[in-house]
């Protein structure tokens, strides 16, 4: 964990404004999801594709007796789909659970509020709706995702509107 020592130092400096974030990688970018939204991480799953489903739906997975709809982060970020297995974050939202398809899930990072920056004004409308600012880490930016906005039901509404 390369950021480990940095995180520990930050924790010492500013104990009250720390957040734990699960890092995920999609393409070359590191994204973050607050861990309190994550129920479970399902590794190397093969979601079942759904014909005629909206593009952002990555397919269905079987998760603890339920069938979960997954959302493809690649599609939302307008990236070409990835072949083969992907990791899935099972997230909880007001409408129930859903899965978020990412290339790979990394470590849980502890980030400090002092490193936080809101979305830049130059970000285009679509991305601004998905992203929730970024943390400046030593090795690059950790772009935060807003799980609520990734909820398939919300995405469906947004599309219909």
């Amino acid at each position: 964990m390369t950021t480990g020592t940095g995180a520990v130092q930050q924790r010492k400096q500013k104990n009250e404004a720390l957040a734990e974030v699960c890092s995920v990688r999609v393409g070359k970018t590191l994204y973050g999801v607050p861990i309190q939204h994550i129920l479970e991480i399902v590794g190397s799953a093969h979601p079942q594709p759904i014909p005629l489903a909206p593009g952002y739906v990555g397919g269905l997975i079987h998760y603890r007796g339920d069938v979960l709809t997954t959302v493809s982060l690649r599609y939302l970020l307008e990236m070409p789909p990835q072949e083969g297995k992907q990791d899935i974050l099972v997230l909880e939202s007001v409408n129930g659970c859903f899965g978020l398809l990412v290339d790979s899930v990394g470590e849980v990072l502890t980030v400090s509020a002092v490193d936080y920056e809101p979305n830049p004004s130059t970000l285009d409308e679509r991305r601004r709706a998905l992203l929730a600012g970024a943390y400046k880490l030593k090795e690059g930016l950790l772009v935060m995702l807003d799980p609520e906005r990734l909820d398939p039901a919300r995405l469906g509404e947004a599309k219909a509107a």
Binding site: Q48, P49, I50, P51, L52, A53, P54, V57, L60, I61, H62, G65, D66, V67, L68, T69, N95, G96, F98, P152, A153, L155, G156
Partner: protein
């Protein structure tokens, strides 16, 4: 909320439900003391317990009701419509309060004096006068009572023992006396003192207590959880069965697992079953109230109340049933004078019937009212812009009737407080379909309307056939599947016929619209049957819409556990859920009804006619025959085996040796000529002959006939004495007719190499 209060709420709700049922019955049988005792007990229990729990407002109201009920029971007041209305109001009032207590944990402030006054007003006038006199003239009595039983209402019910006495004041001490004696024993001193029969009631209640010991209240959430777990177990079992299928050592174990799982599933499902009477029992009250507001007269007949249905489904049909009953009373049953003018009994009959039909429960709501005129529906639907005039013109009667389920449809001339806003039937259908049921309506103008709801016994697990298309598995509910047709590769090119891009298949002479599943799921794909592999048509019947769904291959039938889909995927409109298969794959569950709607399949006229014909028949064992004349004798061929009737010149008939054959669509058909028709025609090569092309197993044969007479239905004949079915003879058109034995037509000497199997039609598993 503490357990005691919760218990009280549940018990009171049950008591009130029982009271409601009894009250409506009481109106018909005002002298029934058993009913009265039942009602009295319900209110009495509520009053007793509320006093204990400290719900003063509830207690006061219950008490007022109890007084009136006490008099009813003692025969001092008769149960007139007025009294029953007041008691129903009391019931509503009590219910309202219980609801408040449940929601807020305590009573809300409010004034029930009007209702209480009304209840008092209805008590026997003489009694009332006397009570007033007591209250005014004998302050001593009141004071004494207040002293011994604080918190008991000011006006106690006049005790029956004392009622014979004219001078109440003189008896004051004796009236007050029993009270202190009873007070320590129970929390309802005034009640025990005045109610002599309370002991008798307690005695009567005891046997019920015995039943209560062997039953247990279980939280529905727990049952739901159990159902889910059983669902999981079924999935795991399926997976285990598949994984161990090849291992002989595991066979016994896995078979046992299979059995235990099936038993467990059944038991859990049974635990969730409740009789439909739980919902039906709400109806008498509804009918009573509605007939009063609408000025109708109707009798409610209920049948099959013991039929059981899953608890959650029962909840779900409550609203649709209410709507349907409302509708029947408002639009169905006419006002008494109109009925009389039409020569009907002024009192209409509304029948609620529940019965189990296989894995479904059918709930019928029928009235003997005015019925629905299809033409009126057509006009209304066009007027409201629900269908275009062109489309409406194409709809057959049954389809027109189904239009009443469209949102926004109402034939009521004006909006009444009961219905006419055009939401009712829409709600019925939405709610019923939400639980995987179907609703249909059948109506005869002037005779009445019947609405039929078909509700699956359980939601969670359904039998389905797994089919494959676009390299994915899909589950097709067996309920909608009527048969499967196999089309081998060599037949692929000719099997489908087209009308302007619409694919059709000839199924026993009827044209069946086809839907290519692969093209439906991946729009833009080239459609057509593959000549490289087998093709399958799943013949589906979704609410009378018949169509064939073409799939790539068939897998096993499986019992699947239905998992709901997220709203985004439900919006696609083709899938009703998803499931996990035995091989741990996920499969989407196809929704035949939505597919039919999406692809524009409607009910065909031929289907309609066939259905009408079927309705005329009662005997399911009857078969349809093609009746032909062969050399002045009548003979018959089962219609299901008849593929075509060909009229052709004799020159088309060729001979292999002495055997006549026909070149039919590239196949050689042996032609049966037992009637000597071909022999007779030999003289004239231009003579027209008729050959009936039939299917026999997987080969085809031709039968030369003189005339084709008719298609008719016939029953099997039974040999007298033995009861055995006679082979090859049937009774058609009142004549004993020989059935042509297709298998008896000898095969041609050189049929090898010729494509034999044409198509195999297998009855889908039920």
């Amino acid at each position: 909320m503490d357990d005691l209060t919760r218990e009280f709420l549940i018990e009171s709700q049950e008591g009130l439900d029982r009271m409601e049922r009894c009250l409506t019955e009481l109106e018909e049988r005002p002298q029934d003391t058993g009913l009265l005792a039942d009602i009295f007990r319900s209110v009495h229990t509520i009053k007793g317990t509320t006093g204990f729990l400290g719900f003063k407002r509830l207690e006061k109201l219950a008490h007022a009701g109890e007084n009136l009920l006490g008099q009813l029971r003692d025969g001092k007041v008769t149960a007139t419509a007025e009294v029953i209305t007041a008691l129903l109001k009391l019931l509503d009032g009590l219910r309202e309060m219980l609801k408040t207590i449940e929601a807020q944990g305590g009573e809300s402030a409010g004034d029930d004096s009007a209702l209480i006054a009304r209840l008092e007003e209805l008590q026997a006038p003489a009694q009332q006068a006397r009570v007033k006199a007591v209250a005014a003239g004998a302050g001593v009595v009141e004071a004494a009572k207040a002293a011994v039983a604080p918190g008991s209402p000011a006006v106690a019910p006049p005790p029956p023992v004392v009622s014979s006495s004219a001078s109440a004041a003189g008896f004051a001490p004796s009236e007050a006396k029993p009270v202190p004696a009873a007070a320590p024993a129970t929390s309802e001193p005034a009640e025990v003192a005045t109610d002599v029969s309370a002991v008798a009631e307690a005695g009567r209640a005891r046997p019920q207590g015995g039943a209560a010991e062997s039953t247990l209240r279980v939280d529905v959430a727990l049952l739901n959880r159990m159902m889910n777990l059983v669902g999981e177990l079924v999935l795991t079992r399926n997976q285990v069965l598949q994984a161990t299928a090849s291992d002989p050592n595991m066979t016994l174990l896995s078979r046992r697992l299979d059995m235990v799982t099936a038993d467990l599933r059944e038991s859990v499902m049974k635990a969730r079953m409740q009789p439909v009477s739980n919902v039906f029992s709400k109806m008498p009250r509804l009918v009573r109230d509605l007939t009063h507001t609408l000025g109708r007269r109707a009798r409610l007949v209920m049948e099959g109340q013991e039929t059981e249905l899953d608890k959650s489904l029962l909840e779900a049909i409550k609203d649709p049933l209410t709507h349907a009953v409302r509708n029947s009373l408002d639009h169905g049953i006419e006002p008494p004078d109109v009925r009389q003018a039409a020569g009907k009994d002024p009192e209409g009959v509304l029948t609620l019937r529940a019965l189990q039909e296989g894995s479904h429960v059918v709930i019928e709501i029928s009235d003997d009212g005015a019925g629905i005129s299809p033409e009126k529906i057509r006009a209304k639907a066009i007027e409201r812009g629900l269908v275009s005039a062109e489309r409406a013109a194409l709809l057959v009667e049954r389809e027109l009737l189904q239009l009443i389920f469209l949102p926004g449809f109402s034939t009521a001339a004006q909006v009444t407080s009961v219905s006419g806003r055009g939401v009712g039937m829409d709600v019925v259908r939405t709610n019923v379909e939400k639980i995987g049921g179907k609703v249909e309506v059948d109506s005869r103008p002037g005779k009445g309307t019947t609405m039929r709801m078909r509700i699956p016994l359980t939601l969670a697990i359904i039998p389905a056939l797994i089919v494959r298309s676009i390299d994915q598995s899909f589950a097709l509910p067996q309920a909608a599947l009527s048969e499967l047709v196999h089309i081998p590769p060599e037949q692929a090119a000719a099997a489908i016929e087209w009308i302007e891009g619409a694919p059709l298949y000839r199924l026993r002479g009827n044209l069946l619209p086809l839907v290519f599943l692969d093209r439906l799921l991946r729009p833009g794909r080239e459609c057509g049957l593959s000549a490289e592999r087998d093709n399958f048509i799943a013949v589906l019947d979704a609410d009378g819409r018949r169509f064939g769904l073409i799939v790539d291959s068939l897998a096993d039938p499986e019992e699947i556990v239905v998992k709901p889909l997220s709203s985004v995927l439900k919006d696609i409109g083709l899938f009703s859920g998803a499931t996990v298969l035995g091989n741990a794959d996920l499969a989407l569950i196809l929704d035949p009804g939505s597919i039919a709607v999406k692809t524009g399949v409607t009910m065909s006229r031929a289907e309609e006619a066939a259905q009408a014909a079927e309705e005329g028949e009662v005997d399911a064992s009857r078969m349809r025959y093609l009746v032909v004349e062969v050399a002045s004798r009548q003979a018959a061929v089962p219609l299901g085996d008849v593929l075509r009737i060909e009229q052709l010149p004799f020159s088309r008939i060729e001979y292999i040796g002495y055997r006549p054959v026909l070149n039919f669509e590239g196949q050689l058909l042996p032609v049966e000529d037992s009637g000597g028709i071909l022999a007779a025609a030999q003289a004239d090569p231009e003579a027209q002959i008729i050959v009936v092309v039939c299917r026999d197993g997987n080969r085809h044969v031709g039968i030369a006939v003189s005339h084709v007479l008719d298609v008719t239905t016939g029953a099997d004949l039974f040999e007298a004495g033995t009861g055995a079915r006679t082979e090859g003879v049937t009774l058609l058109k009142e004549r004993v007719t020989g059935v042509v034995d297709l298998g008896g037509v000898p095969a041609l000497p050189a049929t090898e190499g010729a494509p034999q199997d044409w198509q195999r039609t297998a009855e889908a598993m039920a």
